[in-house]
């Protein structure tokens, strides 16, 4: 009987620990998050998507705007996943690079503007919780994450644009030579399509 009681206590204790963690997360993160998200959501609605479209059209012309300013604006105003619709203002050859830049910014923005991707906040909040536990401020980490994120998406845009251009050029080589190239790219694309479909479906559910 004694042993059974011990086991029961241990079993419940495990979830009590989880419950304490849950209360900590809810009281520590959610109040600020709600107020901040409400403010930014209101701002986004007041500005309106039409104006963002106009800025996006201008931004597509210059490399610095295209992989730095446009992804930031897209993620800030349209949030994940609608941010990627901004790619429609770009020529075909730059769309993969823009997607790469935009999608890479949906987490570095979280430290300062969590409204952009609240469903995935724990990429940031998980590590940030450790810093908070040490009694250190989050501002330093949040701003550095944001700035390094900007630099990284810019580099990603450039690199992916370059790789896309190389692959595009190889594809337009006569049939016989491009055969092997095509089969490998198709093989790589297949699992990605499946995984993407699954993620999209689950996103709709949530």
């Amino acid at each position: 009987m004694e042993i059974a009681a011990r086991i029961a206590e241990g079993f419940i204790g495990m979830f009590q620990k989880g419950g304490t963690t849950f209360v900590g997360l809810v009281t520590g993160i959610i109040p600020l998050l709600i107020v901040l998200m409400t403010a930014v959501n209101a701002l986004v609605r007041l500005i309106g998507p039409e104006r963002i479209d106009k800025v996006a059209m201008i931004s597509s012309r210059n490399v610095l705007l295209r992989y730095l300013v446009l992804p930031f604006l897209a993620v800030f105003f349209l949030t994940n996943p609608m941010a990627y619709t901004m790619g429609r203002f770009l020529p075909e050859k730059q769309k993969p690079a823009f997607y790469d830049a935009a999608v890479s910014f949906v987490h570095p923005i979280l430290g300062l503007f969590p409204h952009a991707n609240p469903g995935e906040i724990f990429v940031w909040a998980g590590i940030a919780a450790g810093i908070t536990k040490l009694g250190l401020g989050l501002g330093d980490l949040a701003i550095r994450y944001f700035l390094v994120g900007l630099l990284v998406i810019f580099i990603r845009g450039l690199v992916t644009e370059r790789i896309t251009a190389i692959m595009w050029a190889r594809r337009s080589v006569p049939e016989g030579q491009s055969q092997g190239e095509e089969s490998t790219s198709a093989a790589e694309a297949a699992p990605a399509v499946e995984a993407g479909g699954a993620a999209f479906a689950s996103g709709e559910e949530a």
Binding site: P81, M86, R88, G130, K133, L141, V148, A192, A199
Partner: protein, 181 residues
């Protein structure tokens, strides 16, 4: 008289409009919190509870912490996450990044990983971001099927370069952060 009435009507309408927008912003926020944030917090809390209570935490502390407390371990982590076949599998919902991030957060909180490694770690756990979503993301940008065919492998290959590079940049950028600690 009519001018005054019309003026009042215009003001009333403008104020109503703004209040409506603010109210809708609040509604959207609460919706997000309930539908996306709270469920994930519940899931994360359960995982942390089990890990802390059962001693799995000690195993993680002995394997993950040494890996995450030096630049080479973080680089290795980012290279693995960026492998073109693995990255689309690790991507969906950023669940892997969120769970690993939380585990590292626990270890940072316990003092097993120095706090300045938080910045490179944020990039090391996440080179696969969006790799599962490339065809959908490109379709949202109204890309042609041809573009998707080239774009998917192009982004996956690019990550193999930019994933580890991001860790190096973040590592360099982390100097001086929480230095006194």
């Amino acid at each position: 008289m009519q001018v005054v009435a019309r003026g009042l009507e215009a003001i009333g309408r403008a104020v109503g409009n703004v209040v409506g927008i603010l109210y809708q912003a609040g509604r959207d926020t609460i919706d997000q919190v309930i539908r996306n944030i709270l469920p994930f917090m519940a899931f994360i809390s359960m995982v942390i509870g089990i890990i802390l209570y059962t001693g799995i935490g000690n195993i993680i502390a002995h394997t993950l912490s040494p890996l995450a407390s030096n630049i080479f371990g973080l680089l290795l982590m980012s290279v693995i996450c960026a492998i073109p076949i693995l990255s689309p599998l690790l991507g969906p919902g950023a669940v892997i990044a969120q769970v690993v991030g939380t585990l590292l957060g626990v270890e940072i909180g316990l003092g097993h990983i120095p706090p300045q490694y938080a910045l490179p770690a944020l990039f090391a756990i996440n080179p696969q971001v969006g790799c599962d979503f490339i065809p959908v993301g490109l379709a949202l940008g109204e890309a042609e099927p041809e573009t998707t065919e080239i774009g998917v492998p192009a982004v996956l290959m690019s990550r193999l370069i930019t994933g580890p590079l991001a860790v190096v940049i973040a590592y360099l950028a982390s100097f001086g952060m929480y230095a006194g600690h």
